[in-house]
């Protein structure tokens, strides 16, 4: 049985000339869940959202919402409502008329329209501005109106296209909480496109990470963050170091990997890896400790400190390595200030071998510089 608000995307491709913005994509979004789609610009996340909304039609493939094939159904008739990045409030209509716009289309009487429009505005705490025009509102208020306008149609699915990107940091965090609360209250499916990793992780029940028109990994936020499928996911979601090397031995006791600099690492890799194969694994930045003596740690690498950045609860330490990836360690502030480091100092980073997570996926692209969000 299909649940209300469940979205089934099957083999969907969207081509613009020779370019496939979305490429033979399969995805299931559970009804009543909060789903965040994330990826670098041009990865196809917005195109996918617009196809779910009906603003674009797939070149091939089908989209099914709540058990109905809506692939070619008109937008506005498929149980979805969209909140636009620019909010797209109608500048010539009062807030009440903006919110009640869809009621007018459905030939609802003027008095009822007004009443229901005002009710909805009350829900987003803007009733006192009901007769104002959108241009008289702040960004955060405009966003609430856009939300009210979308929700008045009682959609099964609310589609949000980078809804928080136009707000300042303070408002963004505030609205983030409100969105999550609203989704909990309404129990409908939210599909939220974002390019901000912390936003996706904080909000979502299900995170969909995209790259080049395909879904690279979809899972709960903790799994995405902790057990990335590929080097791309590890780098893009942030908080990880990606190390690559050659398999030296692989047996029941574990895998030994040697990197270009000759460092040895112990990990638990897939059984089908043989000696001589290339292997990549991820280590969380906050699970690494730093020592000033290069003593015999099992998982360790030595390098020069190139940058120190104080982040409040932790200090971000960058270490120069052989590979293309920066090696970054997040040291808790108390640990760091017990024995502070200096730029240019030679240090050894070491960690427990059970922190090494083998990356099965082959997508090795760098994604966006995600360090800032680490």
């Amino acid at each position: 049985m299909t649940k209300t608000g469940e979205i089934l995307i099957e083999q969907v491709t969207k081509s613009y000339g020779p370019v496939n913005a979305v490429d033979n994509l399969d995805l299931t979004i559970e009804g009543g869940s909060y789903c965040c789609m994330i990826g670098p610009s041009g990865c196809g996340k917005s195109t996918l959202l617009r196809m779910i909304a009906g603003h674009e039609t797939p070149t091939t493939g089908t989209i099914n919402i709540g058990g109905n094939d809506v692939t070619n159904l008109r937008t506005g008739k498929r149980g979805t409502a969209m909140m636009f990045q620019s909010y797209a409030l109608f500048p010539h209509l009062s807030l009440t008329d903006n919110v009640a716009f869809s009621l007018k289309l459905n030939k609802v009487g003027k008095a009822e329209r007004k009443e229901r429009g005002r009710e909805m505005l009350d829900r987003v705490q803007l009733l006192h501005l009901a007769d104002r025009l959108p241009s008289e509102l702040s960004g955060g208020q405009q966003q609430r109106v856009a939300l009210a306008r979308a929700l008045i149609t009682n959609p099964q699915v609310l589609l949000l296209d980078e809804p928080l990107s136009a707000l300042d940091e303070f408002l963004r965090l505030k609205m983030r909480v409100e969105l999550k609360r609203l989704q909990n209250d309404l129990g409908i499916t939210f599909v939220h496109v974002t390019h901000t990793q912390p936003e996706a992780i904080a909000l979502a029940d299900q995170v969909v990470v995209m790259d080049h028109g395909v879904v690279e990994q979809t899972a709960a936020p903790r799994e995405i963050y902790d057990q990335p499928h590929s080097p791309y996911i590890a780098r893009f979601m942030g908080g990880q170091n990606v190390i690559s090397g050659m398999v030296d031995s692989n047996n029941a006791e574990g895998t030994v990997i040697i990197d270009e600099a000759g460092n040895h690492y112990a990990a638990k890799c897939a059984d089908n890896l043989n000696a001589g194969d290339e292997a990549k694994f991820a280590v969380r930045r906050d699970r690494i400790r730093i020592s000033t003596q290069a003593d015999g740690h099992e998982n360790a690498l030595t390098g020069k400190v190139t940058d120190l950045e104080y982040q409040g609860t932790f200090v971000k330490v960058s270490i120069e390595t052989w590979g293309r990836d920066e090696f970054i360690v997040h040291l808790p502030d108390d640990v760091f200030f017990d024995s502070p480091l200096e730029n240019g100092q030679m240090v050894t980073a070491h960690w427990n071998s059970n922190q090494n997570f083998h990356l099965l996926g082959t997508n090795d692209s760098t994604g966006n510089p995600a360090e800032d969000h680490g």
């Binding site: 008109r74 506005g76 409502a81 636009f84 500048p91 007018k104 459905n106 149609t153």
Partner: protein, 270 residues
């Protein structure tokens, strides 16, 4: 602000723009003043008294040909050009947003047609109508000539207007369940309305005082600019100035109304 912060440059620029405006409105002002020439006054200064004699002379005397007819023809042409221009340019502008194949070439061709000398265009248009077998008439070939002038201009303004139009408004309307027609009626046209008034204004005024394209296309009955041009060689009284004042007043009234409408709409939205 103290005078020390306003250097020589400031006064130079102010003087320049005072001269600039005087240059623009001076000639009109002279005609305006002379149109109130006394009954026994002539075409030049000095004024021999002040009267409205030449205005009443204009509307009662038969010396000036079919001035009333020319005025009404010009007004009808102006309104017709305005209506066709605003509708055609709205839909052309909306079509051009789709970036169809060849849209760039069509746009540049439309704009380039503005530099074709009007008199030549009128000549060609007259020939075309005769080849097709339609008699030259102010409302057929004349209207066509006016549209050849107002449509490209209107399109140019429409492009500027649409530049500030966010396509997401239309998508939001469709998302709420609006059909294409409902979107156009309830969202696109109301939002574009001030811009459409500007297009209408240009449509009317460009047609109202158009002459080169009209000369060879209006057939037997003249429009007002042609009639006035003829008067300058026949009429030797200040009635000539009176007609200038009257037509200028009509133009200003139309522009004033248009600006008022835009201001009222903008104020309601601001």
């Amino acid at each position: 602000m103290t005078s020390s912060t306003r250097g020589l440059t400031f006064y130079f620029l102010v003087s320049f723009f005072v001269l600039f405006v005087a240059f623009l409105y001076g000639p009109m002002l002279i005609i305006f003043v002379l149109s109130f020439q006394g009954q026994h006054g002539g075409l030049t200064f000095p004024m021999r008294g002040v009267s409205t004699h030449w205005f009443s002379d204009l509307f009662t005397s038969s010396r000036y040909g079919d001035l009333g007819g020319a005025l009404s023809r010009s007004l009808i042409l102006g309104v017709a050009s305005m209506a066709i221009t605003v509708v055609a340019c709205l839909f052309a502008g909306l079509a051009f947003r789709k970036r169809f194949v060849g849209s760039g070439i069509i746009f540049y061709l439309a704009i380039t047609s503005l530099v074709v000398p009007g008199i030549l265009l009128g000549l060609g248009l007259g020939q075309l109508f005769q080849i097709v077998g339609i008699r030259l008439n102010w409302f057929t070939s004349g209207l066509a000539a006016h549209l050849s002038w107002t449509l490209p201009f209107g399109l140019l303004i429409m492009f500027a207007v649409l530049n500030r139009f966010d396509g997401a408004w239309e998508e939001a309307a469709r998302d709420a369940g609006a059909s294409h027609w409902q979107t156009l009626k309830l969202v696109t046209i109301p939002i574009l309305f001030p811009g459409l008034i500007a297009v209408s204004l240009f449509g009317f005024t460009l047609s109202y005082d158009e002459m080169p394209r009209s000369l060879l296309t209006v057939g037997a009955d003249n429009t007002l600019p042609i009639e006035i041009a003829n008067m300058t060689s026949n009429v030797t009284t200040p009635a000539l100035y009176a007609i200038g004042t009257v037509t200028s007043f009509i133009s200003f009234a139309v522009i004033g109304l248009a600006f008022l409408a835009i201001m009222v709409i903008q104020k309601r939205r601001a």
